[in-house]
Amino acid sequence: MNAPAVTPDPLHLILGDEELLVERAVRTAFEAARLADSQADLTRVRVTDLTPPELAELVSPSLFAEGRVIVLEAAQEAGKEIADAVISYCAHPADGITLVVVHTGGGRSKVAKELPAALRKAGARVTECPKLTKPADRDAFVRNEVRAAGGKIDPEGVAALVEAVGSDLRELAAAASQLVADSAGKVNADAVRRYHRGRAEVTGFAVAEKAVIGDRAGAMEALRWAMQTGVAHVLVADALADAVRTVARVSAVGRADPFQLAGQLGMPPWKVKKAQGQARGWTEQGLAECMQVVAGLNADVKGAAADPDYALERAVLRIVAAHQQRGR
């Protein structure tokens, strides 16, 4: 075996609790190891799930001598025994092994708190991933993300994006790269608004698609996701209404060629075809009930209901239940 062109750092300390940044630092360490040994594999384990003998086994040289990246997660929770084992390993790291210690910076026990200092002393490569709490840091993060994706964003764009997406870095990062791709590199407030609207529609649409085929688990999961990402209740309600009435309209005219029906119903043929598929399994009675459900929901999300989250959930469940009725 040839000597690697690059020698990866055998010890890494990833310090902080900003999840996305921690995740990226782990990946960077792994990629560096892969540069040295394309066969290197990754093992992740929580420090609290690990005993000193198990650690010894993980870092012992293997018969086949392939590289290994071992990630010790939540090191701030380490007990004395395992902490000592980690520190003593650091004094003599094994060849071909990359040990990545992930630590929030806090810790309950004294040894756990001292772990980062010991790793620094042993010459670990340190990556700091503190939580971004200041708005200025978050804005800088957004700008960096856009730049990394090969684009540019103006201050209004940054403000609009943070307002639309919130402060979750994972979401911000995903939105930033999507925006660069959508707007040919130049991101401004208008592009952000367009993006967000589209995304909200897609999410409400996903809820409706699952609901009208009676997929309770899928619909509820999509709904929860929509609520978590702050999609407006009205948009989800509209999507549900549109899906239900489309299925009802298409099934009301009976089976026929989608291209013929398209003109008659004033819908594109693909939509007719799709609705014909969704209409299978529905009874006329079930659809009639759903028409009432979505009308009631429209009122609910416009202020008639005290809790619109619950109103949406109930409407989705009622649509799924109506789908499950068989015959009359």
Partner: protein
Amino acid sequence: MTSATVAPTASGVWSVVVGQPGAVEVLSAAAEAAAAVVAGGEASPGAMTHAWLFTGPPGSGRSVAAKAFAAALQCTVTDDRPGCGECAGCRTALAGTHADVRVVVPEGLSISVAEMRALVQTAARRPTSGRWQVVIIEDADRLTEGAANALLKAVEEPPPRTVFLLCAPSDHPDDVSVTIRSRCRVIALRTPPASAIADVLVRRDGVAQAKAAWAASVCGGHVGRARRLATDPAAEQRREAVLRIPLGLRRAADVFTCADELVKTAEAEASEVNDTRNEAERQALETAMGAGGTGKGTASATRGAKGAMKDLERRQKSRSTRTQRDSLDLALVDLAGFYRDVLITATGAREVSLNHPDRAADVATAAASWSAESALRRLEAVLACREALEINVKPRIAIEAMITALHRG
């Protein structure tokens, strides 16, 4: 001016107040007392007051009665029966051009606090004619709480020559704040009898006797609606289309065809009513804004103009939504009337008159083929739809849900 067929109380400005002899008596006595005040004499105590609330079912002519009273207050004829209907005071007040009569119609869905404050301020000015400052507030039930409070102050301590005339439907008496209501003298109008409506259509609008009798019999006591049906063929056709729905829902697909027709008709009516007016308002605003010409301050004037234009567009959109909703509501009232007729016919209560006597045959067919429960469910679906539209549910969604229920029964 008297004639053989019209009672003395219904002459002059009072002739527009259809089928309300009791109200006319009270109002004309008040107008006489008001004239005495203007003349510097002693008014009979309690006859005149500064705040009035006109209530009554839809179509009973609340705002018409308020306007007639306003005209009588501005009447310049100095005999003891103000409200001649001929003098400049009467005519301009009725036409809405009298300088001392302000009519407030909420164009959006409510009257804002700012609008109300401005109004209260103007109302406190001395009347230019030396008679009365009259403020008519139509749909006082649509006042926001803030606007109602602003109004309350003025009603509680009215300037000596200011009169407030509030109008509100009697089916929602709670919508007018109790405090305001307690400061007002209430004029309760009733549904005018069909004979009185037919009479006014013949006398004032020159409608042929038979047509007037028909329109009066199907208008639900709504004078304006009767006039529309008697004089506008499109309105008559729309009613026909609506009343064909109950027996016309045969196949499942009919649901969506009917819903589509109802919604589109309402949209068309809204644009028919508003388009010309919107364009005129837009041009008037452009002219007013353009009058500044060029020179310094033009840039900021342009910004102001843009804001004003946006504002106008917002108000026009709100008005269009309201027209659409009113038009749908009219259709729903007709539909509800049909299902009520079915229920009445099914119970065999012959002494109760039908909402749609001209549809008695359809009603009888329906009563023979539906159970009472299903007729009731249908009626309830129509009423639920009215409520849904009132709280802003999208018209198409509400109407489709209703017609689905009408189809299934």
